[in-house]
């Protein structure tokens, strides 16, 4: 490998390299505690809402660096309404879930309507939403905490003591068999898809990339999947919240990279006028981005009230910042048009690991904020500078 190739590699995988280095640092700093099965399980379930929100935020940011400030309040409001529906009004869990998702989508559509068709700046529209839905949460809950008692709901959305996919393969002692099976199946599917894509390209006579690089990448990814699987299996298995995160990441990863509508998000962020003249309804792209953000906020709201087994008018504060930070750390451009779902997930993981590592090390809460702030800046500086050099 010559120096140019190494530079290319570093530019392409900057954040993954940083993620590895930070993990190594905390492994050393916590004497390996951060890699304990329970801590890895916690890392995932504590940050489930960030993964979900960051994925939605990515779509908004792609349209031109536009952000949604209202997500924290929407998370809180949907949670509050859901809590009231289930606990005070006795609505069955299934219907409550549907109603909450609908509510999220409607809230999203309300904001999206003004942003897309009247071109009210997203910053203002969602700032308004941030105030409105925070206020409404207080009204709905009467300013009080509402405990969520429904066991079905909390287990389903990753809360309470037993929020794991049940080990129906009957492991009992030692490794959780369902988790192991899921991990192995995931690896096999990944290998199958990669190899089949490669074969297809070869068969149709299209250009294929470097085969060795493809296999190395495959081995590394499978190793990471298996490492996490074993860790989860050593604890209690797959947290239910991880299932939701995986569903969201897979669906949106697919939409953004493989579908025409996904391509429109990138196109609008890259050059809206050119996109419009290419016959694409750019207003609709904005509308979808913000409506979808409302929908995913609703899911994040459910994950939040389930995990905390209550609904409170203060929930969801600063969630928008976690989501926005993850996107930018994960390589999304502040001007729009650039960013990927896997990148954003890496960004969210990086923030999560720093959080957890410092908590285990017993760093002061306030200092944690300082470190997170500096990491956000450093990540973006590094990204911008390395991109500038390579061009």
């Amino acid at each position: 490998m010559n120096s140019a190739k190494i530079r290319d590699f570093i530019t392409k995988y900057t954040m993954i390299i940083v993620l590895v280095l930070v993990t190594l640092f905390f492994t050393w700093g916590t004497q390996g505690k951060i890699l304990f099965p329970q801590n890895i399980t916690n890392l995932i379930s504590q940050n489930a809402y960030v993964f979900v929100l960051a994925t939605g935020m990515l779509l908004c940011i792609l349209t031109g660096g536009n952000i949604d400030l209202s997500v924290g309040s929407v998370v809180c409001f949907v949670g509050a309404v859901g809590g009231v529906l289930m606990e005070n009004m006795g609505v069955p869990v299934f219907f409550a879930v549907i109603l909450m998702l609908l509510l999220g989508a409607v809230i999203g559509a309300w904001q999206a309507f003004w942003i897309a068709f009247f071109r009210i700046p997203p910053f203002i529209t969602t700032l308004s939403g941030m105030l409105v839905f925070r206020g409404l949460s207080n009204v709905v809950l009467g300013g009080k905490t509402l405990p969520i008692k429904s066991e079905t709901f909390t287990v389903l959305f990753g809360g309470g003591a037993n929020c794991y996919v049940p080990d129906f393969l009957g492991g009992g002692e030692g490794l959780n068999r369902v988790a192991m099976a899921a991990g192995i199946i995931a690896c096999l599917i990944y290998i199958f898809v990669t190899v089949r894509g490669h074969m297809n390209r070869k068969k149709k006579g299209y250009e294929t990339g470097n085969v060795a690089a493809m296999y190395i990448k495959m081995i590394v990814i499978c190793a990471v999947i298996m490492f996490l699987t074993v860790k989860l299996a050593q604890h209690k298995g797959i947290p239910t919240s991880l299932v939701w995160v995986m569903i969201v990441v897979l669906i949106y990863g697919y939409i953004t990279s493989k579908t025409t509508i996904g391509r429109y998000f990138y196109a609008v962020g890259g050059n809206e006028k050119a996109t419009k003249l290419s016959g694409i309804n750019t207003d609709m792209v904005y509308f979808i981005a913000y409506t979808n953000m409302g929908l995913l906020s609703a899911l994040a709201g459910m994950l939040t009230i389930a995990r905390l087994t209550s609904a409170q008018p203060t929930y969801g504060q600063n969630y928008e910042m976690d989501a926005i930070g993850s996107c930018f750390i994960g390589g999304a451009s502040a001007y729009g048009g650039i960013g990927t779902v896997p990148g954003v997930i890496v960004g969210a993981l990086l923030m999560g690991i720093i959080n957890q590592g410092m908590s285990i090390m017993g760093t002061d809460q306030n200092m944690q904020k300082v470190v997170k702030g500096l990491v956000l800046l450093a990540a973006v500086i590094f990204d911008v500078v390395s991109k500038k050099k390579s061009s």
């Binding site: 297809n200 390209r201 149709k204 299209y206 250009e207 493989k258 579908t259 025409t260 509508i261 391509r263 990138y266 196109a267 890259g270 050059n271 006028k273 050119a274 996109t275 419009k276 003249l277 290419s278 016959g279 694409i280 309804n281 451009s333 048009g337 650039i338 061009s391």
Partner: protein, 512 residues
């Protein structure tokens, strides 16, 4: 012989991987207008950036001798102090500031903490009179036309006590009248002792205004032509620029059969989208036949782009009236998508602003207007997309390492080809090409003309809007002349000449 004001000796400048300038020599005498010509990417702008200190001393090899001293500029400010002022191709004016504010931006009158506005506006007007501007210096930049903005740039340079004025493509966005006025202004300055270096693609202007012409090709100086000594014709200059004679600047079309009318616009009237009482297109009727190249000529602001965009799915204007017939049936196009479905394409004049996504790859740009063509039920077949991009890259001879390359890194000519590829892949029957060769070099122009010929040979129709008269005359089967939103005349290829087109415009301006 006059004294040598500037000498650039053996300038070599390398960027990582590329030698942009290779041993370039340039001598400029005091009081002359010296033109630099060359194809895009030949190194003209790089040379001027070396001279003005944009690329600081030490980042290049060779010497700059100005007024007898060796100069080591580290910064633009240092060269400006010596009176070397560069006016860049893209106007660097701030629309919502007044002329006066713009003129002294970074060079403010008065003290650092307290600007003397009276002096600012007073002095601004003094310099504005020198370039023939009669506006108040408190007028906002956005309220004056591009031609006048260019004059403000020159006044701004005068305010910096310019002795050597460098103009990079000063007329690229001006119409013929404004261009002429600007060139005459330069001639007037020359009489007053100013030295100018002018970079231009417009060879007729160069031969009109310049005393000497230095030709740069592939980063080296090829030759310097002197007025009165060497032949000063366009063909002679082109020969130097491309290194061979281009026998025919416009490729011939063979055996293209012109068929029936496939598009007709009748009584088309469009109002301005913001100033809704202003008519920008006024009762225009045009016809286009199958296999025909129809030229639309006219000055800047004649309403040509507005006509094209409003026909293309109402992408411009308000209160549009008139009928559009495609293959004999009347259609109502609501938006660009509709227009594309009806096999229309509009290739914009502003490829960076309205045409391409510069931060995306050639591949993504190629398929943007026809993603359905590479996808199955909304899922993009990436392999097919790649194959399509490669196919068009080869068809149009786009020069790029791979189709994964970002469009923003390509030269103007290659960007134009990507833009054409995008619209050709949308498979239209009628292509409206708006200034298809603006700002691209002679070689690339020729290739674009060949593409146009291939398109009509394949039975498509092309409407070519162009401000360059030779191009319109050389390429069109039929020419419409537009002026002030109206059709001022229609000429066949046989009868059209530059003089007749200008006469149409003048007649219509007088209201006859």
């Amino acid at each position: 012989m006059a004294k040598i004001l500037l000498e650039m000796k053996n300038i070599t400048k390398t960027f990582p991987g590329v030698k942009a300038l290779d041993n370039v020599n340039l001598q400029v005498e005091e009081g002359e207008i010296h033109a630099l010509v060359g194809e895009n990417g030949a190194g003209k702008s790089t040379l001027m950036n070396v001279l003005s200190g944009v690329y600081p001393f030490g980042s290049y090899e060779g010497d700059i001798i100005y007024n007898g001293d060796i100069c080591k500029f580290h910064h633009i400010k240092e060269s400006e102090e010596k009176g070397i002022v560069i006016i860049h191709q893209e106007l660097a004016l701030i629309p919502y500031m007044s002329i006066g504010e713009n003129m002294f931006l970074g060079n403010e009158r008065g003290k650092k903490a307290s600007i003397n506005w009276d002096e600012t506006y007073g002095e601004a007007e003094k310099y504005m009179r020198q370039v023939g501007l009669t506006e108040s210096s408190r007028t906002l930049i956005k309220d004056i036309g591009v031609g006048k903005q260019q004059l403000v740039e020159i006044a701004k340079a005068l305010a910096k006590n310019a002795k050597l004025l460098i103009l990079d493509e000063p007329t690229s966005s001006l119409n013929e009248t404004d261009s002429k006025a600007l060139l005459d202004l330069l001639l007037k300055f020359k009489k007053e002792g100013m030295t100018c270096i002018i970079i231009s693609h417009k060879l007729n202007e160069v031969s009109y205004v310049a005393d000497k012409i230095t030709v740069i090709r592939d980063g080296s100086t090829i030759e310097t032509l002197v007025k009165g000594v060497d032949e000063f014709t366009e063909d002679r200059i082109i020969k130097g620029m491309v290194g061979r004679e281009i026998a025919d600047r416009f490729p011939k079309r063979h055996n293209v059969k012109i068929g029936d009318v496939n598009m007709e616009v009748k009584n088309w009237t469009v109002y301005h989208p913001v100033y809704s009482e202003r008519k920008v297109v006024d009762n225009v009727s045009i016809k286009v036949h199958k296999g025909e190249v129809v030229g639309i000529s006219g000055l800047m602001g004649a309403g040509r782009t507005e006509l094209a965009k409003s026909v293309f799915g109402k992408s411009f204007g308000s209160n549009i009236s008139g009928t559009l017939l495609l293959n004999g049936t009347e259609v109502h196009l609501k938006n660009a998508r509709d227009a594309i479905h009806h096999k229309l394409a509009y290739v914009t004049e502003d490829r960076k602003g309205d045409g391409l996504i510069l931060s995306n790859s050639i591949k993504t740009n190629t398929t943007l207007a026809n993603l359905d063509g590479v996808s199955d039920r909304m899922v993009i077949d990436k392999d097919k997309e790649y194959a399509v991009a490669v196919e068009y890259k080869e068809k149009l001879n786009t020069k790029c390492p791979t189709v994964e390359q970002n469009v923003g890194n390509l030269s103007g000519g290659n960007q134009q080809k990507v833009l054409l590829a995008k619209w050709m892949f949308a498979d239209p029957d009628i292509l409206i090409l708006d200034e298809p060769t603006r700002g691209i070099d002679v070689g690339a122009k020729y290739e674009i003309y060949c593409i146009i010929n291939d398109l009509v040979a394949a039975g498509k129709s092309v409407i070519m809007i162009s401000s360059e008269l030779p191009e319109v005359l050389g390429m069109s089967d039929r020419i419409y002349v537009m002026n002030e939103g109206r059709i001022a005349g229609e000429l066949t290829q046989a009868e059209a000449t530059q003089e007749k087109i200008m006469a149409c415009i003048l007649r219509s301006s007088k209201g006859e």
